[in-house]
Symmetry: C2
Subunit: 144 residues, 2 copies
DNA sequence: TCTATTTAAGATAAATTTGTCCGAAATAAG
DNA sequence: CTTATTTCGGACAAATTTATCTTAAATAGA
């Protein structure tokens, strides 16, 4: 469904958000541990998220990653996925046809559009805030 | 969403079904042309579908691939996808956690389960017969 | 200023997926 | 029986994704 990069990116962002809600900045090392992801690969993904303005990074001792508290409830799952995987998941035909739309559909077009619209609206309607809150109060988990 | 192998496999199976409904056997070469897929790679996928009993193959001159007419309306999209990609798409956590269920969910568990159940039931409820018929009457297309 | 720490960035490597090639096996037809 | 055709199977190659390593840049604190 999602790429590994996306899985790690989502988990990391949620973890950073929880810490940011408690006014704490977190290091790459801590993130990778708490999120159970490969350190160096996670670094790449966080760099990308930082370039896309979703998270902030700070170099040096006491450095690390954080998210502006005011932005946490404005960031959606869609923005995170889009920053990492681009919009390939959201566009394009289910069977890989270059040209496929309602006027010249592939055999699964209608059914596929339904599923994907469903996925899209889920991603748009899910805020980082609700994901982070669920983790913070112990309702959800990121490891194993 | 689907792997390339799956895309090619679905398209090929639909094409074979249409021909089989007209009592025609088709060669690998014709399939790859009509479905716009790499010949040798398509061969591998068809071999797998044949081993899974979804399509029949025949060697030698006049050989090729076909599907028993009586099976066409019993075969589902789910069976095709499952034969090619296994059940990795249908099981497993959205964020890659080894252990993730309602009792110890990841942050996107509920939302993800919803989407995937949606996908699953679409695949289960879509028959090869309806896909092949749509193509046969010119309502849908497989190329470009 | 110097040092230790942390992220940034680029090169490199491993793993997986996608794709090709070629000889073997089957088989229809002359 | 021989030949031409077609799928089968395995080895091989290219492309993409996943993952690592190393050096540079920033920066906090002594």
């Amino acid at each position: 469904m999602f790429s590994k990069a996306c899985e790690y990116g989502i988990k990391a962002t949620i973890y950073i958000a929880v810490k940011s809600m408690h006014q704490e900045r977190v290091s790459l090392k801590e993130i990778a541990e708490e999120v159970d992801s490969p350190v160096a690969f996670t670094a790449k993904i966080l760099q990308s998220l930082a370039r896309h303005g979703i998270i902030d990074s700070q170099k040096g001792p006491t450095g690390g990653f954080q998210i502006q508290e005011s932005k946490i409830d404005a960031i959606t799952l869609h923005q995170i996925v889009h920053a990492i995987d681009g919009d390939n998941i959201f566009n394009g035909c289910g069977l890989g046809l270059k040209q496929c739309d309602a006027s010249k559909p592939c055999p699964v077009h209608d059914k596929f559009v339904g599923i994907r619209d469903n996925l899209k609206s889920m991603l748009h309607n899910t805020s980082l805030y609700e994901l982070a809150t669920g983790l913070d109060i112990g309702l959800t988990h990121l490891k194993r």
